[in-house]
Subunit: 141 residues, 2 copies
DNA sequence: CAGGATCCGTTTCGATACTG
DNA sequence: CAGTATCGAAACGGATCCTG
């Protein structure tokens, strides 16, 4: 057998199941990362139809895990703004690989142009995600 | 705002939630990919303690999805051998990114040496995974 | 009105025991 | 050894209520 596999064969690999073992958690991260959603109601409008109690729970877990931050809207005190932390932004390579895999193997609605950008200009995509979250103290809309 | 984000803002991104929304599914794939597990009992011995009915269900779903194949052991008819298909092998980049992210952000038990290999010699790692699954009709042990 | 919390019927999950 | 049957526990979805 290949020595690479040999050596790896009993490796205790961590998969961060808190994040990846849950359907809704992943969808929230996707919405933050690729759809620029920032407020509670934005996530509620996700195509997949998340319930408000489930959403609140996942946002709390993500902030507890240091993946998301919650701040107040500057002018409207009612609104909360959710953003990815640096740790959260660094999930981008994973999400990108998932999207590319899904595009290759399942029929997906993602336009070919955007997929090509994810594949060929990964660094730029990630930089712009970071810019929209970590580097942006201002509030959208 | 960055035009990259602008354009991506309403993209219907598919995440293959059948695979990634579930904790046990991901663990089974990890065991196939990094721990060379092939038989039902091997997966049962996972540190995380999967139940037999859950394991049977997840293996069935994965074979239905074309990610795993199930064949009979050549000499012992009772035994089933599970392997990744090409589609399954192509999940490797995702798993690798997850492991690397977890190693950076959570305390993980994975040895530094193996992590470095995952990071720096990705092509070789993936090739050896493919070799151990798609290219190997023989049965282990 | 936005962001949640609470209650509750229903579905899904998973631990254990059991079978071919 | 490789699964299935059973059944209690947990999660989910949906409605509604609450609070600033």
């Amino acid at each position: 057998m290949d020595p690479v596999n040999e050596r790896r064969s009993d490796c205790p690999i961590s998969l961060s199941l808190e994040v990846f073992g849950d359907r809704w958690t992943l969808l929230v991260i996707r919405d933050l990362m690729f759809k620029n959603r920032r407020q509670f109601r934005d996530f509620l409008r996700a195509e997949e139809g998340i319930a408000s109690n489930v959403l609140a729970d996942r946002l709390r877990r993500l902030t507890d895990a240091g993946i998301v931050t919650k701040t107040q809207h500057l002018t409207d005190a009612r609104r909360s703004i959710y953003r990815l932390t640096q740790k959260g932004v660094e999930l981008a390579p994973i999400l990108i690989e998932i999207v590319l895999w899904a595009a290759r193997h399942e029929r997906t609605a993602a336009p070919a142009e955007e997929l090509a950008q994810l594949r060929d200009d990964r660094a730029h995509v990630i930089a712009s995600i970071r810019n929209a979250h970590v580097g942006e103290p201002e509030t959208p809309t």
